[in-house]
């Protein structure tokens, strides 16, 4: 097939349409410039005005999010959000999607996703300190899904493990709707002294822009506009050349060089090169300070001869950063680059007047207002309409189904479901220890990362339940924020702020736009209730094929703060003979539950009700309990209900339990598998039971003693009991067994 720069047959559509711009958008460019754009200019607009870069379909809704709070140092709109975590330390964090490239080339798609988010954090001057990878795939009974899952995990490891940033968390979920469209999100956080934070808006006329790192090649031409701004259809594999290729070794050198430049005071500012490459970095840097720039493409190191200006401007070659440097500092900055074996080419200079001029071989290839690219992209309030199929789906309540024939079999099905089961298969392929600050690594409610030189730590969790989003996008988003906050609270941290990645279908379809709008509304309400502002995020649209979209999946990355990491509470039962308490109220809520999907084979009903005030009280109770040293273990109760939460606490601690389900009001299977919100399973330290009960009562959190830890069996009195060893096999072997299925000789 023809590429974007190939010969255009006489019957071909006009260039702007080939590049993904609508006729109206083309007219807007003509009117802005007062003339028809030249091809390189058109290419620049096409990437900057793409959905991925301009957020044209989403920004009207994103404006409604709460973004302010005393802890927020930098909110949305910059390369990454920044939160004050105390003791003069700032935490920089951001989440992004690399789903489209990963669907086409899983290893490189996922690998370059890691590279990109790390550069976002680096651009604020922070040392990248931890990664989390929320992933969604189709069912593992399908060979292609196994290939995608295996490739993505290997790519995350292959890149992350080589750059010295630990991968400390994330989740893996499976649903058939992700078959053609896996969701590959990645979150990075980093630390920097608050007074050493780099400003995204920096520089003055005469400041020099150094392009540091990799040479620019033809890889990833139009990666964002080609891939992430349209749906994946059957010929998607033809887009493979649009997927960038990662070089993690170069990224590691880039990290060290940039941090050394910053430490030496040689940087005015730093921009990462990601989507839309040089065009985006230079135009945003200039627009941010209301200046223009003279960009000289002859200074850009190229990987191959014969590259068009067009290619150089929009190439998404990885491992590049743009440093904004005072002219007198250029030689010193270039010496640092050389020390790390990197080029640091002076490619552009800031100029007065706001015009971005692109020169090559003595000619002017483009001359456009920088702000027209960066800030003046189109904005759409697209039609939104609640889909009419939703009523019937919500009306069918799985709690009305008869009890399972064997409750023990149902327990095994839920515990062994890939959505609940252990994800060791994936996270053992990631280095979770490098940098030496990982207090709690993958597989826990939240990862806990220390801040070197202090007693402080951050707790981070990523969450998003696609089924809930599908059944009620507003509730799905509320649940995602609530669960993420509950997870960081369950280790004892106070939820502070969120980043997010909003994964949706085609926004040009009204039902998708309605799902998106509802999800944003839910996220906003939950974040307001918890006092956790939105510091940034990413929108990934067009996750659909053949008119069939993924579940509307807002993935929330929650940052919590622990004043003293030694106060953290772990999820596993640590000893025999401890009282076990269920916190929160359990109601007959099976809508969208794991039980309904794996036992009843249904995704229907309404997601559990979330009372945001009740939820917030639980978070405060958990943080207060950690400060009061009264808990020996604490574990969030969500997917798979109390049954799964108890089993996970037993497996994590290697200690069984004896639990007496309450009789009366609620059927046993509902009590075991309901996914009511705002609950946790905790075990107070021996002798602290009364103190804990009083604390729970003071916080207004329902608190029921349900049993005792100990022994080597998971005992649900009068229902069933299984050995801990068997439960471990069910839990740990589910994913490895599915993944090895493809390797069995036939």
């Amino acid at each position: 097939m023809t590429g974007t720069t190939g010969d255009i047959p006489a019957t071909a559509p006009p260039l702007h349409r080939t590049l993904g711009l609508t006729d109206a958008e083309y007219e807007a460019i003509v009117s802005r410039l007062g003339r028809a754009p030249e091809p390189p200019e058109l290419a620049m607009y096409s990437v900057m005005w793409s959905e991925h870069c301009s957020y044209k379909s989403s920004k009207v809704h994103l404006r409604t999010l709460p973004t302010e709070g005393p802890q927020v140092l930098v909110g949305p709109g910059q390369d990454a959000g920044v939160v004050d975590v105390g003791d003069g330390v700032a935490c920089v964090f951001k989440m992004e999607s690399h789903s489209h490239p990963s669907a086409i080339e899983p290893y490189q798609g996922a690998a370059t996703g890691v590279g990109g988010i790390v550069r976002d954090v680096l651009s604020m001057g922070a040392r990248p300190a931890a990664l989390l990878d929320p992933l969604r795939f189709g069912g593992l009974d399908d060979e292609r899904n196994r290939y995608l899952f295996g490739g993505v995990v290997a790519g995350i490891g292959g890149y992350g493990n080589c750059i010295g940033v630990p991968t400390v968390g994330g989740e893996v979920k499976f649903a058939d709707c992700h078959g053609a469209n896996p969701t590959v999100n990645v979150m990075c956080l980093g630390f920097v002294p608050a007074d050493a934070l780099l400003q995204s808006r920096a520089g003055e006329p005469g400041s020099v822009l150094l392009l540091i790192g990799a040479a620019t090649g033809r890889d990833g031409i139009g990666g964002v506009s080609v891939l992430a701004s349209q749906t994946l259809e059957e010929d998607a594999h033809a887009s493979r050349p649009s997927v960038q290729i990662g070089d993690p070794f170069l990224e590691k050198l880039l990290i060290e060089a940039c941090l050394e430049l910053k430490d030496l005071g040689l940087l005015e500012g730093l921009k990462d090169l990601g989507g839309a490459g040089l065009t985006c970095a230079v135009s945003e840097a200039a627009a941010g300070v209301r200046l223009g720039a003279d960009l000289d493409l002859d200074q850009v190191a190229l990987r191959e001869p014969g590259m068009e200006s067009f290619d150089i401007l929009i190439s998404e070659s990885q491992e590049r950063m743009l440093a904004i440097v005072r002219p007198q500092d250029v030689p010193a900055a270039q010496a640092v680059c050389a020390k790390w074996g990197l080029t640091g080419a002076a490619v552009a200079t800031f100029v007065e007047g706001g015009t971005l001029t692109v020169r090559r071989a003595g000619d002017v290839d483009a001359r456009v207002p920088a702000r027209s690219l960066a800030d003046e992209g189109p904005e759409y309030d697209r039609p939104a309409e609640r889909p009419d199929w939703l009523d019937a789906l919500q009306a069918e309540d799985p709690a009305a189904s008869p009890a399972p024939v064997s409750i023990e079999d149902a327990f095994a099905s839920v515990l062994g479901s890939p959505n609940v089961a252990g994800t060791r298969w994936a996270f053992e392929q990631y280095d979770s220890l490098v940098q030496g600050q990982t207090v709690v690594g993958p597989g826990a409610d939240a990862a806990v990362v220390r801040i070197e030189g202090t007693l402080r730590a951050v707790a981070v969790s990523s969450d998003g339940n696609g089924r809930y989003g599908f059944l009620d996008p507003y509730a799905g988003a509320v649940h995602a924020v609530a669960e993420a906050a509950r997870n960081v609270a369950s280790v004892g941290a106070t939820p502070a702020a969120i980043t997010n990645c909003l994964n949706f279908g085609n926004p040009e379809r009204p039902e998708v736009m309605w799902q998106f709008r509802e999800a944003v509304r839910g996220m906003a309400d939950a974040c307001r209730a918890f006092g956790t502002p939105v510091t940034g995020g990413n929108v990934s649209f067009y996750n659909e094929s053949g008119g069939s979209a993924i579940y509307p999946t807002p993935v929330i990355g929650m940052l919590g703060i622990l004043d003293d990491y030694r106060l953290l509470v772990r999820g596993g039962f640590p000893a025999d003979g401890l009282a076990i308490y269920a916190l929160g109220a359990t109601r007959p809520e099976l809508g969208g539950s794991e039980y309904a999907e794996v036992v009843l084979g249904k995704v229907c009903g309404r997601p559990p009700v979330v009372d945001l005030d009740v939820e917030a009280r639980l978070h405060r109770l958990l943080a207060a309990s950690s400060r009061a040293h009264v808990l020996a273990s604490s574990h969030d109760c969500s997917d798979g209900g109390i049954a799964a939460a108890l089993a996970e606490a037993a497996i994590a601690g290697g200690i069984g339990f004896d639990v007496v389900p309450p009789g009366g009001g609620i059927a046993a299977h509902l009590w075991l598998f309901a996914e009511s919100a705002s609950r946790a399973i905790v075990a107070p330290t021996l002798g602290s039971e009364r103190a804990f009960e009083e604390l729970a009562s003071a916080h207004g959190v329902p608190c029921a003693r349900i049993g005792t830890t100990g022994g080597d069996r998971l005992r649900f009195r009068d229902l069933f009991d299984v050995s801990l060893a068997d439960a471990i096999v069910v839990y740990e072997s589910a994913i490895p067994r599915l993944m090895s299925a493809g390797r069995v000789a036939v």
């Binding site: 493990n161 010295g164 070794f249 050198l253 392929q429 220890l433 490098v434 940098q435 030496g436």
Partner: protein
């Protein structure tokens, strides 16, 4: 009189990742950590040297294959030949094998995947068979168990049958992968290493290479501390060379 704080040089190659962790661990164990840059021939008057973990030069060719040619490695080789204590961790172990300072080689894990996991190793020879060892110059008694993490994609130790026989006979096998209670079996071999070998000594007993990461197992707030005796050996060996 306070005990001498030996200077421990930690070499940073381009692509080293656990170099800062090794420096931190040395300080925590009472040594004086000294960063050493790959392009310098000076080891900073170090009394001992650590080659840390990572992916030196990206390890795109073969692990450690480029790093062995770094200027600092000439000095490390001379230091080792003169009897100086050298500890190679993970990528450092791979580099020492490539440089011919340790026997054998490290190839792709049997499972073909990177593996990061806390494991147990059994001390085979806390000091090499031929070396005289005082108590503080040994990592531990034979059969002692250390809980340490591994994290590597190419940690499968291989050597010819003859070389393996020689290593076993000379007491150069430092550690073997084992079960949490010390059973050495293939079920507890995380990467397919020959004879479950996790670490080896050179003949003289002053160079030790291992795939597990002792520098990530010294801080009790983060987990088990099986790395302490290994770093303690390095510091003791450094002290033994330089009178306080």
């Amino acid at each position: 009189m306070s005990e001498h704080r030996p200077r421990v040089g930690v070499v940073t190659f381009p692509g080293s990742l656990d170099d800062r962790d090794a420096l931190r661990a040395v300080a925590l164990m009472g040594g004086d950590p000294v960063p050493v840059w790959h392009a310098d021939r000076s080891l900073g008057e170090a009394d001992a040297v650590i080659l840390p973990g990572g992916f030196s030069y990206g390890d795109y060719l073969r692990t450690g294959a480029i790093a062995r040619f770094a200027p600092a490695m000439e000095s490390v080789a001379a230091f080792a030949t003169a009897g100086g204590p050298v500890l190679g961790i993970c990528n450092g172990f791979q580099i020492l094998c490539e440089a011919g300072l340790l026997p054998g080689a490290l190839v792709r894990n049997r499972g073909l995947a990177f593996v990061c996991r806390w494991i147990t190793v059994r001390v085979e020879h806390g000091s090499p068979g031929s070396a005289e060892s005082s108590d503080n110059l040994t990592i531990g008694r034979e059969g002692e168990l250390l809980s340490v993490p591994i994290k590597h994609g190419e940690g499968r130790f291989v050597a010819s049958a003859e070389e393996l026989r020689r290593l076993e006979a000379a007491g150069q096998v430092a550690f073997r992968y084992c079960s949490p209670v010390g059973l050495v079996s293939d079920d507890f071999n995380p990467n397919g290493s020959a004879a479950n070998i996790a670490g080896v000594w050179n003949e003289k007993g002053n160079v030790l290479g291992l795939m597990p990461h002792p520098e990530h197992a010294v801080d009790p707030d983060l987990g088990p501390t099986g790395g302490q005796p290994i770093l303690q050996w390095l510091l003791s060996a450094a002290r033994a060379r330089v009178p306080a």
